[in-house]
């Protein structure tokens, strides 16, 4: 990352504009292979998502056909159509890179930064959308109060994220913020003021470093769980759909304060062309996706991509098929809750006896 900043600054010092994302480096066939793997995964994922008949099925369909045809022109240029869906791994990759490319310099200009995580207890599927809406409102309200009433000059970026607890089928929407120094405690105190059921220990803040930047710009939600032992990727189809629905038409990424002026949006442009080295020698060629790679009319593969040796398991359509490990965690949690309830009952009994004998 530092290298990227240095490169951009070098170019700036020469009096040129910093390069756009897609020409930061000449892309080789390796990056085409990565693109093919992403495409392969997106198709597997969206195929499962399409099966559940979600209201977002149109979006999933677009993601399924994202980068279906690549057009090679001018020998080393490839143009393709992007779907801009959050379910699409290909577009997510570009989105993340675009964000990083666009915001690292303005963030650096802000000086020392702090990384804040604001959380609320897990919610059920039916409450998720309202919770997310409330979180957006709360954050914008906090920013306004800090700026107008308290006179604090706050600048930064907020990002909404959501994780899943598969065992209990609950969702954990939370907010990540990257703010200028000494604003973080203010954010936490204002957040606690507006959130009666929050827990103090679950709120975090620390000085920002490279990891915090990565954390901020990564996905809105995890698309899969990796099981390294069995070489499987587990997709929680239903919960992923619930999250995507909750965050649909909402800005997960928003800047505020001085940083707002820089224009970088979340959108991935519909048509994008990229330059590659080592492409087959054609002036014009159409490459069509089939199973694991793009092929031309002569049935030549474009990236020589090998289908990953990974099994993809779509589960969690009913939430009832728990693994042994999950069953153990669930049982432990139930035992802990029972113990707590018993303790509370005993405490109540003890207090009532105490009152009697007073």
């Amino acid at each position: 990352m530092l290298q990227v900043i240095e490169n951009i600054e070098k170019v700036k010092s020469r009096g040129k504009k910093p390069p756009p994302l897609d020409t930061l480096a000449q892309l080789g066939t390796d990056s085409l292979k990565k693109k093919a793997t992403s495409k392969w995964f997106t198709q597997k994922l969206t195929k499962e998502l399409l099966e559940i008949g979600s209201p977002l099925s149109k979006q999933y369909k677009r993601a399924y056909y994202c980068n279906q045809t690549l057009i090679q022109h001018d020998k080393n240029k490839i143009t393709s159509k992007y779907c801009n869906s959050r379910a699409c791994n290909l577009c997510n990759r570009i989105r993340t890179a675009k964000m990083m490319n666009g915001y690292i310099l303005p963030l650096k200009e802000l000086g020392d930064l702090q990384f804040v995580t604001l959380t609320e207890p897990n919610v059920k599927e039916s409450e998720l959308e309202e919770c997310v809406r409330n979180q957006i409102k709360k954050i914008s309200n906090i920013i306004e109060v800090l700026r107008k009433r308290r006179g604090i000059n706050v600048s930064g970026i907020r990002k909404l994220e959501c994780t899943i607890n598969i065992v209990f089928n609950t969702y954990h929407p939370h907010v990540h913020l990257l703010v200028n120094k000494n604003c973080a405690p203010e954010f936490i105190s204002e957040w606690l003021k507006r959130t009666p059921n929050a827990k103090l220990v679950a709120q975090h803040y620390k000085d920002a470093d490279q990891n915090s930047l990565n954390e901020l710009f990564k996905y809105t939600t995890k698309q899969y769980e990796i099981e390294t032992e069995n070489k499987t990727l587990e997709i929680n189809v239903r919960s992923l759909d619930v999250i995507l629905r909750a965050y649909n038409n909402k800005r997960t990424f928003q800047t505020f304060g001085e940083i707002r002026k820089i224009k970088v949006n979340e959108e991935v442009e519909e048509l994008e062309s990229q330059e590659y080295t080592d492409l087959p020698d054609y002036h014009y060629m159409e490459w069509e996706w089939k199973n694991k790679d793009w092929y031309n009319k002569y049935k030549e593969p474009l990236s020589n991509n090998i289908e990953p040796n990974i099994e993809i398991k779509a589960r969690n359509k009913t939430y009832m098929k728990w693994t042994e490990k999950e069953k153990g965690i669930r049982q432990k949690e139930i035992d802990r809750n029972n113990k707590k309830n018993k303790e509370n009952e005993l405490l109540k009994e003890y207090q009532s006896i105490k009152i009697k004998y007073k």
Partner: protein, 79 residues
């Protein structure tokens, strides 16, 4: 996630909480406030115990300090 609520961070949060007007403070906010104070006190106590333990190891402990350490440990165990 590892907690980032160090003594210094908690003190800053406490200071930020003190900036909120009394009229805006609800009951649950006061509970949070008390929790922050309690956590700072606990961390303070832990620091004190560690310092006294070090002194004991170095054989530089007075009788009063021994009694203080004993009392602090009793409080720690009760919690």
């Amino acid at each position: 996630m590892e907690t980032t609520l160090t003594k210094e961070n908690l003190q800053r949060i406490l200071f930020a909480m003190m900036q909120i007007k009394e009229i805006d403070q609800s009951q649950y906010f006061k509970n949070y406030y008390n929790e922050v104070i309690e956590r700072i006190a606990r961390l303070d106590m832990n620091e004190q115990v560690l310092a006294l333990e070090q002194k004991r190891k170095d054989n530089e402990m007075s009788y009063d300090e021994t009694m203080i350490l004993k009392e602090l440990k009793r409080i720690q165990n009760n919690k």
